[in-house]
């Protein structure tokens, strides 16, 4: 009697070559210099960080470069409590939306140097960079954000960014 096979394994491996394009290249080069560079939408004047070269609301190129600060306000966040593939740090940890000072769209980053259950909406935070020698054109140049010793921002100041 032939044994019925239930399943087979079919490994798939494909290799691709990625190129970041101009806007992302400028942003990543900025990180290598310890700077956070956004781009301004020519129609709405809003500053996008990281920039993708296009205004998502108007379908036009964003060319004007704007440097934003590495401080900002936590608009909202999630406490990740389960481990999963690809995480470099053990849970629990906080992943936050951070509205950088000078930007008009939240930036995603981790928050450390603060107990995870004390992170708040409105909390003021600052980027913690890798050492000067380690700065490189990658997102990893910013290790995470840490709390600033400042009063929380009022809800009204960021409610439009939720």
């Amino acid at each position: 009697m032939t044994e019925i096979v239930k399943s087979i394994t079919t490994p798939i491996r494909l290799e691709y070559v990625y190129r970041p394009g101009r806007a992302t290249s400028r942003f990543l080069r900025g990180l290598a210099e310890g700077r956070i560079l956004g781009q301004r939408c020519p129609v709405t004047g809003k500053v996008y960080v990281p920039p993708r070269g296009a205004s998502p609301t108007h379908g036009v190129p964003t060319e004007e470069e704007v440097e934003v600060r590495d401080t900002g306000t936590v608009t909202t966040f999630c406490i990740v409590r389960i481990p999963s593939e690809g995480l470099s740090i053990p849970p629990p940890f906080v992943a936050a939306h951070i509205l950088l000072d000078g930007a008009d769209i939240p930036f995603f980053a981790l928050i450390h140097e603060c107990p995870f259950d004390q992170v708040r909406m409105g909390m003021r935070v600052k980027a913690v960079w890798v050492s000067k020698e380690e700065l490189a054109p990658t997102f990893e140049s910013i290790r995470y954000f840490k709390p600033l010793d400042e009063p929380d921002a009022p809800f009204e100041s960021y409610r439009e960014h939720l």
């Binding site: 079919t10 494909l14 691709y16 190129r19 394009g21 101009r22 806007a23 993708r52 296009a54 379908g59």
Partner: protein
């Protein structure tokens, strides 16, 4: 049926590798150009639909950022097919036929250069008994060419003549990637890539993007001096297994051609989506192309083959002949799947 026409068409220059711009940056000027040519304002477009494929980009949801290129704000009526943009155009045509909208923007994008496209296309095959052997797209096309050589009037010389003619025609197409004069005897003296295919029988690897605007009735007449009216459009698929169908003919093209009205009257121009030389010969036979028809004056897929865009470009190129006043009745064809598994035929008139 409503009268629906292609009223404008734009495409990015087809290139071997677009290193400077991401997909959105490639699409933006193309969408802007197609909209400007139609005279229909961005906010007035009734429906937007695109064609692209995650596996071309190597990441899930690759199409999502594409819509940034149209600036979908306020929110728009929008859809996406994981197929060539030609099939997105079909969905747009349906939407207009249903009476829900009067105009549509259709776009497609793909950077084939990002991966090994012949190997990426292997993932289209039956995942149980075929894909695990990793036959690449060129090898499968070569099998089909063999069947055509064995069982029909296709010859290697006729195939080389298709290649030479396509690349000669492409000299007049500023957006083409491969163009020039080639000697058929010299081509035939080249070694096989995968026998019976030589390099010239195969398409180039291409990055590209294209956009088309469709409009109905009076809006079409206002948007374009010579609209390319869609008189018939249909697409058909046939069975997947290469060993269970007749590879020497394209049965699904025959049905789609019949349904689209391709066999009533003559054509000035036909733009056929044939990435491999023998496929053009198979398609010409399936569509009963008269020798007088100018086939692929743009150079076709042999001159530029941005996968997921090539079919939409065929529709756009054919329509552009009407827009320019160079043709009165044209046929456009698009294909999907291994060895011409799925085929779309569209008949347009001035």
């Amino acid at each position: 049926m409503r009268d629906v026409a292609i009223v404008s068409f734009a495409q990015a220059p087809n290139v071997r590798c677009e290193t400077e711009r991401n997909e959105v940056e490639m699409l933006m000027p193309v969408v802007a150009e197609a909209l400007a040519a139609s005279g229909i304002a961005r906010g007035e477009i009734g429906f937007t639909v695109s064609g692209s494929c995650d596996y071309i980009a190597g990441q899930p949801f690759a199409f999502v950022s594409g819509i940034d290129a149209v600036g979908p704000w306020p929110p728009i009526n929008e859809s996406h097919v994981e197929m060539d943009g030609a099939f997105a155009l079909y969905e747009a045509w349906l939407k207009i036929q249903s009476g829900e909208v009067d105009s549509a923007l259709v776009y497609a994008f793909g950077k084939s250069s990002m991966g090994d496209i012949a190997e990426v296309l292997t993932l289209q095959l039956d995942p149980y008994t075929v894909a695990p052997l990793w036959p690449d797209a060129v090898s499968l096309a070569a099998l089909q060419a063999r069947v055509a050589l064995d069982r029909s009037r296709v010859t290697e010389r006729a195939m080389a003549e298709v290649a030479a003619r396509s690349r000669r025609s492409a000299k007049a197409n500023p957006n083409a990637q491969l163009r020039g004069d080639f000697d058929v005897d010299a081509l035939l003296a080249e070694p096989y890539l995968v026998a019976p295919l030589r390099k010239h029988d195969c398409p180039p690897v291409t990055d590209g993007a294209a956009a088309v605007v469709l409009a109905a009735g009076e809006l079409a007449s206002r948007s374009c001096a010579r609209p390319a009216w869609i008189r018939g459009i249909d697409h058909r698929i046939e069975c997947h297994s290469l060993g269970a169908r007749d590879l020497a003919r394209s049965a699904s093209t025959e049905i789609a051609g019949e349904k689209a009205g391709a066999f009533t009257g003559s054509f000035d121009v036909a733009e056929l989506h044939a990435p491999f030389t023998h496929q053009e010969l198979i398609l010409c036979s399936a569509l009963r192309m008269a020798p007088s028809v100018s086939v692929n004056p743009s150079g076709g897929a042999l001159a530029a083959n941005a996968v997921m865009v090539t079919g939409l470009i065929r529709l756009g190129e054919a329509a552009a002949r009407i827009h320019a006043g160079d043709a009165r009745r044209v046929l456009a064809h698009a294909t999907s799947g291994p060895c011409l598994q799925q085929n779309l035929v569209c008949v347009m008139e001035a």
